[in-house]
Amino acid sequence: MPNTGTQSARLAPPKGRDLLNASNIMILAGFFALMVWSYIGTEFSLRSLLGGESAVQIWAYAKNLFPPDLSRDFLLKTGHWTLETFAMSFLGTILAVLIALALVFFSSRNLMFAGLLFEMERSRPWLRVLRTGLYLFAKSTLNVLRTVPHLVWALILVFAVGLGPFPGMLALGIHTGGVLGRLFGEVVENVETQPIEALQATGASRLQILFYGILPQVLPEFVAYTLYRWEVNIREAVILGYVGAGGLGQQIQIAISLFLEHRLLTLIIAIYVIVTLVDYLSAYLRSRLV
């Protein structure tokens, strides 16, 4: 293409940044190494999966599952267990919200000792220490609640109060309480400071600021996170039963150990139904309430 118009003399092209530089290649190599390491370590076999032995095994197992057990008796029982699982997730979520609400305000730095609510306080250092201690306690409690896997909580509670959906619901509530506590905490720490500053300037007490300035902002997000978490909860509720905490999970464990594959398929279909239902409910409520 002939050069036609520029007034300035022909410039040399600027230097480009080579994408294939040393650090990029190292990152790529590291990534690749991780992949190979995991591939070998997990005894993953692509060949076996794509038409080899594993494929045959999986296909044979899948065929075994059909047809689902649709006998009236079993269907009724499945319906009952499905409702039981739903109840577990429902109450578990409510319990989680209660626990989270109880702890979240103590585990937020901007409500306990940092930020503009406390800038004017210089005296009474022991109070500050007390508050910090409370903060640490709340924060670590939430951490423990959410890091201990929900299955472990379920095992503990089954151990304490026996089998059935009650320990499952408790376990769900406790574990999710920790999760929601953390999510709520992030919301509280990111709250908009202007309304709070205004309220504080009028001489409102900290408790009043909480109700008038903070809660109105955070409640909609709390609701959204709770509903979102319910979708996760229902899936967890399903499997908690595996360790004896009632609901569909318990029945699945039984069906598996007794090799009742057709019943297993029915139960899986029930899981699909209830999870999809809760997903829809959650989305619907989020659109209406938030």
């Binding site: 293409m1 050069n3 036609t4 118009g5 520029t6 007034q7 300035s8 022909r10 410039l11 092209p13 600027p14 230097k15 480009g16 940044r17 080579d18 994408l19 294939l20």
Partner: protein
């Protein structure tokens, strides 16, 4: 180059955007399209650059019936038509060089396109094109750091790299600083003249259309109101064209026909 025969475009079975349009454009012509908003100019353009098919009527490009083109053939014909958009439609995160070279994607096989993302395949070509539009130093800058006018020039450079036979410019200066608008219009006209390309431009500004284009078409409600040499466009034509439209009052428009500046040699705008 183009022959449209009773071409219509109807959306959702109800909204008639283009209404039985007849149009002939010869190779190498320069033509401006004006009209109020919603007249169907953009829809017409999208049919001319083969983005959407007409609902009825025949559209011939260089003798080819575009309604019969599919897959590979369709892409080959698209390569021959270059488009400059109002919103420039560049990829913001890319360096300028990748945006410019994306004009070549119609010609490159997939593997070449991938390789070019790692190491730009024809960087000198991109540099040449950028020099033509006046911003060669921006070759490796991130596109989103450029100003609106500069980004539009990058878009024009992309079209240069594509090297099409036709350039369609859909309101290329509407989102650009008015002070720079004339510069960009002139650039496109010069480039199309130098490389003997057909140029069809959609313009909001009647001034620019009458000042730079030998042939002006007025479009309203999907129909061609007039198709005249610029010198023959009168205030009455403009009044009928923009009557009742909310964009400009008819008085503002009719005064324009007298302000037509002579196509004199103007200094080359390189900013």
């Amino acid at each position: 180059m183009y022959k449209l025969d009773r071409v219509s475009k109807v959306f959702d079975g109800r909204i008639v955007a283009v209404d039985e349009l007849d149009l002939k454009v010869r190779r190498g012509e320069k033509l401006a399209l004006i009209g109020p908003s919603g007249a169907g100019k953009t829809t017409l353009f999208r049919m001319l650059n083969l983005t959407i098919p007409p609902t009825s009527g025949t559209l011939l490009f260089d003798g080819l019936d575009i309604g019969r083109l599919y897959g590979r053939r369709l892409r080959e014909v698209r390569r021959r038509i270059g488009t400059v958009y109002q919103q420039h439609n560049l990829v913001p995160r890319f360096q300028v060089v990748h945006n410019v070279l994306s004009g070549k994607l119609g010609a490159w096989p997939l593997w070449r396109a991938v390789r070019s993302l790692i190491r730009p395949a024809e960087a000198d070509l991109a540099f040449e094109a950028l020099s033509q539009v006046g911003i060669p130093e921006k070759l490796y800058d991130r596109t989103e750091t450029l100003s609106g006018g500069q980004q539009q020039r990058v878009a024009i450079a992309r079209t240069l790299v594509q090297n099409p036979e036709v350039i369609l410019a859909d309101e290329p200066v509407s989102s650009v600083d008015p002070a720079l608008a004339a510069g960009i219009v002139k650039l496109l006209i010069e480039l199309s003249e130098t490389y003997r390309k057909t140029l069809i431009m959609n313009l909001h500004s009647v001034d620019l259309a009458l000042a730079y284009f030998p042939r002006v078409i007025g479009l309203r409600d999907g129909k061609i109101l007039f198709d005249l040499p610029a010198a023959e466009v009168t205030d009455e034509h403009l009044a009928t064209l923009y009557a009742g439209s909310q964009t400009e009052t008819t008085e503002e428009v009719t005064g324009r026909a007298e302000l037509r500046p002579v196509r004199a040699c103007q200094p080359h705008l390189t900013s």
